[in-house]
């Protein structure tokens, strides 16, 4: 069963070099160095290469030749977004711009004091949106795995400025569930990914890009359980300095309890999500950042 362990690749020295480059030379130079780093991973990370190649070749139906190039672009886009995130969170000089389809939905969650759940995917990087969306007057919380290597984490924490978003780490003792519950009670906004699960989580199979894939029920069940509006969100990097955010119209599912009802509603919600995700991936194939065999089950 495909799953993700919570750690991304990359060494401490690499991070130090990039943080220093961003600080003293800016994003342009960092992107230039990134080209070489990406080429290294392109050659020496055969497992992720295999999965990315198959994604373009088998799932999107691109030729072998195009797929080879697409994998490189995919890695490069991923690296750029990581650098953008460090640059933004550290307060280094940048001039990012963005536009937002559906921003009013988030404002409504704030002004109507309903709070809400934003379900994203490993397509683009919604975490960046949190830092660019300071004009939304609601507290934004991002639920995520927090298993990065300690030394890398310490390095990044030392350069990051005070965050405008709150990170809720997913923990084995389930304490994050109680934190989420409190956030919803305070009408806050919660962001979580809906396309990745770890061993032991409940999931449902859907047709996704022409083949069955498993999706975790947990993020979707949050919306049912706490009866909050849910919207599906994506953040796409369209040019070096421009992000485009998307949010679908929020929907409240009036869940009355019961396991049969729960499963029916989950299926309906998740089908909506999978449809949106499929559309977004087809339009932005360079932004697919699940570097493992997503369709294996």
């Amino acid at each position: 069963m495909p799953s993700w362990k919570g750690k991304t690749r990359g060494g401490l020295l690499g991070y130090k070099i990039f943080v220093a480059t961003l600080k003293f030379f800016g994003l342009g130079v960092a992107y230039f160095i990134l080209r070489f780093v990406v080429f290294y991973f392109y050659l020496f990370a055969p497992q992720s290469f295999k999965h990315s190649y198959r994604f373009y070749n088998q799932r999107l139906g691109l030729s072998s030749f195009s797929s080879f190039f697409k994998v490189y672009n995919n890695y490069y886009k991923f690296g750029q977004i990581l650098l953008d995130k460090i640059s933004l969170m550290s307060g280094f000089k940048n001039n990012f711009t963005f536009n937002f389809d559906g921003e009013n939905y988030l404002h409504e969650m704030s002004t109507n004091k309903t709070g809400g759940l934003l379900i994203g995917a490993h397509v683009g990087n919604w975490e960046i949106a949190g830092f660019l969306l300071k004009r939304i007057k609601a507290k934004i919380n991002i639920v995520m795995y927090d298993e990065e290597h300690q030394k890398i984490k310490q390095l990044l924490d030392s350069v990051y400025q005070e965050s405008v978003v709150n990170i809720i780490p997913i923990k084995n003792d389930m304490s994050h569930i109680y934190t989420i519950s409190k956030c919803f009670q305070n009408n806050e906004i919660i962001c979580i990914h809906g396309d990745r699960f770890t061993e032991g989580s409940k999931n449902i199979e859907f047709d996704f890009l022409g083949k069955k894939a498993l999706f975790p029920t947990g993020p979707f069940y949050l919306a049912l359980k706490f009866n909050v509006p849910v919207t599906y969100v994506f953040a796409i990097k369209e040019t070096n300095k421009h992000y485009h955010f998307f949010a679908t119209k929020p929907k409240v599912y009036n869940f009355k309890g019961g396991l049969k009802n729960r499963d029916l509603m989950l299926h309906e919600m998740m089908q909506d999500y999978v449809n949106e995700l499929e559309k977004m991936v087809k339009n932005n194939p360079d932004h697919w950042f699940n570097f493992y065999d997503f369709w294996k089950n």
């Binding site: 084995n172 003792d173 389930m174 304490s175 109680y178 032991g200 947990g218 359980k225 396991l259």
Partner: protein, 83 residues
């Protein structure tokens, strides 16, 4: 509080909240696999425990609760400690 009373209270909640068949509620029943209760549902279970049995549940104590028998035993132990 009697053991049977604790079991009755928990079972009544599970039947009411999750529309579970009473015959499924055996001590061996795995909460996730047999009863299809998800980790999120523990929020409700904790609320009921705290309200009905009058003690504070710590998240880490629930990590080892895998089947219904574990849940009964956990509550019985806590209630006995309190008394």
């Amino acid at each position: 509080m009697e053991k049977q009373e604790i079991i009755k209270t928990i079972n009544a909640f599970l039947i009411d909240e999750f529309e579970l068949d009473e015959a499924k509620l055996t001590p061996e029943a795995n909460l996730r696999d047999d009863l299809e209760i998800e980790s999120l549902d523990f929020v409700d279970i904790v609320v009921v425990i705290e309200k009905e049995f009058g003690f504070k549940v710590k998240g880490e104590e629930m990590v080892n609760v895998r089947n219904l028998g574990d849940l009964y035993n956990y509550i019985i132990e806590k209630v006995n400690q309190k008394e």
